[in-house]
């Protein structure tokens, strides 16, 4: 989807030429030079003043860069150009500020996770192991995550798909408006609130025990609005000519939707569902309230506590010793790999089966 958006960007970059050719300008390499200079100066300050935190070094470098750029440009090019350069340098700093934490997070997870991560880790459970002992694995959590997310998808995908069809193809009037609004609001429900709802309904009122299925219901609540939103966008992209052609041939509307509209947009719909799956696979809070966690393998999601990958990370983090931390990082690596794989697959499908939007 992001590519479709990016294409709206005008081809020619917005780059105003100087007002007159005689006006003095900083050389082209000036921004890069100032950036390198301030980075070097910041590192020197950091080393000399013995500042432990790299965050401080970065802050000093950013401040130096922005201030120097502004001062130099004011002196050479005038105030208006200086403001322009100030904005540009600030925007670049923002960009770096976003990339640094992501890079650090991915690096830490891969580096620390790789210590424990191997085939043994993937194929063994924590059965019979105490938190203080080394070894163990995530097999039981992996089973739990796959089953819970699978069940949630079985509930949420059809419901979400039908709701989206209703909103795009049938919906009119107050009901459709209400559904649209509440779908939007529902995307913002905190996961723990969805967990509390299933807790009060399924476990307190109906008196069932903790199970993977209870967790799956909460995950489905979180997944449904995401599926509706993305499916809606995809259905809107189907050119009306296709619908009209089918209707003109006397095909009833429901068959038109099933045989023309949905097949045309199936690539985008699949992408949306997979992105939603990736989103809920990392949810911990509802699992904590409803599935309870377990250290051994439970293959039945409808009976008894299960584990899940994000919950495994949480319990190992809570255990708080080095072996447990190693397991937590390795599980985080597995979880991130799973989520990223789903993301990449989804985007691959989106690109491969992108609907041709009319003209």
């Amino acid at each position: 989807m992001s590519h479709a958006v990016m294409d709206q960007r005008p081809q020619d970059a917005v780059g105003p030429r100087p007002a007159t050719l005689r006006q003095a300008r900083l050389p082209r390499w000036a921004p890069l030079g100032i950036a390198l200079g301030s980075a070097a100066l910041a590192i020197a300050t950091g080393v000399l003043a013995d500042l432990q935190s790299r965050a401080q070094w970065g802050l000093i470098a950013a401040l130096l860069f922005v201030a120097t750029t502004f001062a130099l440009t004011t002196a050479v090019e005038g105030v208006r150009q200086a403001k322009d350069r100030l904005a540009t340098s600030l925007v670049w700093v923002c960009f770096l500020a976003a990339v640094v934490p992501l890079a650090s997070l991915v690096w830490e997870t891969v580096a620390r996770g790789a210590e424990m991560f191997d085939l043994y880790f993937l194929t063994h459970s924590m059965s019979g192991l105490r938190d203080l002992q080394p070894g163990g694995g995530v097999y039981h959590s992996l089973i739990g995550t796959l089953q819970q997310v699978g069940l949630a998808t079985l509930i949420a995908a059809p419901l979400g798909l039908l709701t989206a069809v209703y909103l795009v193809e049938y919906g009119k009037g107050k009901l459709a408006k209400a559904v649209t609004f509440f779908v939007d609001v529902m995307t913002g429900i905190p996961s723990i609130v969805a967990g509390l709802f299933v807790l009060s309904f399924w476990i307190i009122l109906l008196d069932f025990g903790y199970s993977g299925w209870a967790g799956a219901m909460a995950l489905a609540i979180l997944m449904m609005p995401i599926v509706v939103r993305s499916t809606e966008e995809m259905l809107k992209l189907v050119p009306n000519e296709l619908r009209e052609a089918s209707l003109a041939l006397g095909v009833p509307k429901w068959r038109t939707i099933l045989k023309v509209v949905l097949p045309t947009s199936i690539g985008g719909i699949t992408t949306g569902v997979m992105l939603a799956v990736a989103r809920i696979a990392g949810e911990t809070a509802p699992i904590m309230l409803l599935v309870f966690g377990a250290s051994s393998i439970n293959n039945n999601p409808f009976e008894g506590p299960q584990d899940s990958l994000p919950y495994f990370i949480w319990t190992q983090f809570k255990a708080g010793n080095q072996y447990a931390y190693d397991r937590a990082w390795a599980a985080a690596l597995v979880l991130i790999a799973l989520v990223m794989l789903l993301n990449l697959l989804a985007r691959g499908i989106a690109r491969w089966k992108a609907p041709k939007a009319g003209h």
Binding site: A87, L105, F182, L237, N240, W254, E283
Partner: protein, 336 residues
């Protein structure tokens, strides 16, 4: 992530075709029945969604009343959470404070940076960089919150104490930035982690709006001799203001309800600590996660009551954001 942004539909898609009533097939035929069944099915699932929302509100209220009726403290002003004691005494004052403060810190850090990145992608970045960057921001949104929490607690916290000593040296006199030198598992650290987590959604929605600025507005400003910053200030930011506001509110909704990242990073207590850099405090969601395992029946209901407050707050924030977006769509259609 992707589904939260609204791609402008091509104009011809705004009005789905009306069903040619009675024109398809003969009356009472299987065709008609099929149509009725199918449209009923789709309508039914739409209604299911509304029912779920109503049920969430109803069930949470039901359990909350159960807990509040035995509460010996004042639910809104008591600075304590002893819901498992007899008689139970609990109140959300500390939780409300912690939730609001950490979210405000997150907003203060994330919104300017997010607007910067959105501008970077829409107006500044070299074209080759813009598209991959938008993709990286999407990936940032896909990282599970527990992983952010793990990273925050085991990597970020040890690296922040240097920065906090620094803040203490220069701003410690305010009291807000006083720092005693313990592990930096404080509300401010939570705010930083939340800021990183809400960055993607704020960036995506803002970028979406910035890209919709009519080309003519920008060209008019350029034609008057404006620099790039003046173009942005005169045409892009005024056009995008309401979009940025609603994007921030969506981010705020996320920050308010975040559970695991807060539960892993924060070292909680039931005291309102004037210093944001020292450990202590709590948030609604974190308190539920931390207290659930030890909670008895009343304790569980009390946690549900605090969840209801969280639900109402996020409902208001998200609903407000969506209304702003919807209203903007109506009157920007004319010149887009």
């Amino acid at each position: 992530m992707d589904m939260t942004k609204t791609v402008a539909p091509p104009p011809q898609a705004e009005l789905p075709p009306e069903a040619p009533k009675g024109s398809s097939g003969t009356k009472g035929s299987a065709t008609h029945r099929g149509d009725r069944i199918f449209s009923g099915l789709t309508k039914g699932s739409g209604i299911t969604l509304l029912v779920i929302m109503a049920a969430i509100a109803a069930f949470l209220t039901w359990r909350s009343i159960n807990a509040l009726s035995v509460n010996e403290g004042n639910f809104f002003t008591t600075f304590d959470w002893n819901a498992n004691a007899d008689p139970p005494v609990f109140g959300i004052a500390v939780l409300a404070f912690g939730t609001v403060v950490s979210s405000v810190i997150a907003m203060a850090l994330a919104v300017p940076v997010a607007v910067g990145i959105a501008l970077f992608i829409s107006h500044y970045a070299p074209r080759k960089l813009a598209s991959p960057l938008a993709y990286v921001i999407d990936l940032l949104a896909a990282v599970p919150s527990i992983v952010y929490g793990l990273w925050g607690a085991l990597f970020l916290v040890p690296h922040l104490s240097g920065l906090y000593f620094w803040l203490d040296d220069y701003f410690g006199w305010t009291g807000v930035f006083a720092y005693d030198g313990g592990a930096a598992r404080s509300l401010f650290t939570v705010g930083i982690v939340l800021a990183i987590m809400i960055l993607p959604i704020v960036t995506n929605v803002s970028r979406e709006v910035f890209l919709q600025v009519p080309r003519m507005h920008e060209e008019a400003a350029l034609a008057l001799g404006a620099t790039r910053w003046e173009v942005i200030r005169m045409s892009v930011l005024p056009f995008g203001r309401s979009g940025v506001i609603s994007a921030s509110m969506l981010g705020l909704g996320r920050a308010l309800g975040e559970t695991m990242a807060v539960a892993t990073v924060l070292s909680p207590s039931f005291l309102i600590n004037p210093s944001l850099l020292n450990p202590g405090g709590g948030t609604f969601a974190q308190n539920i996660a931390a207290g659930f395992n030890e909670a008895g029946d009343i304790g569980r209901d009390a946690l549900i009551a605090s969840g209801l407050v969280l639900f109402v707050i996020t409902l208001v924030v998200n609903g407000g954001a969506r209304m702003i977006i919807a209203r903007r769509k109506e009157y920007s259609g004319a010149n887009a």
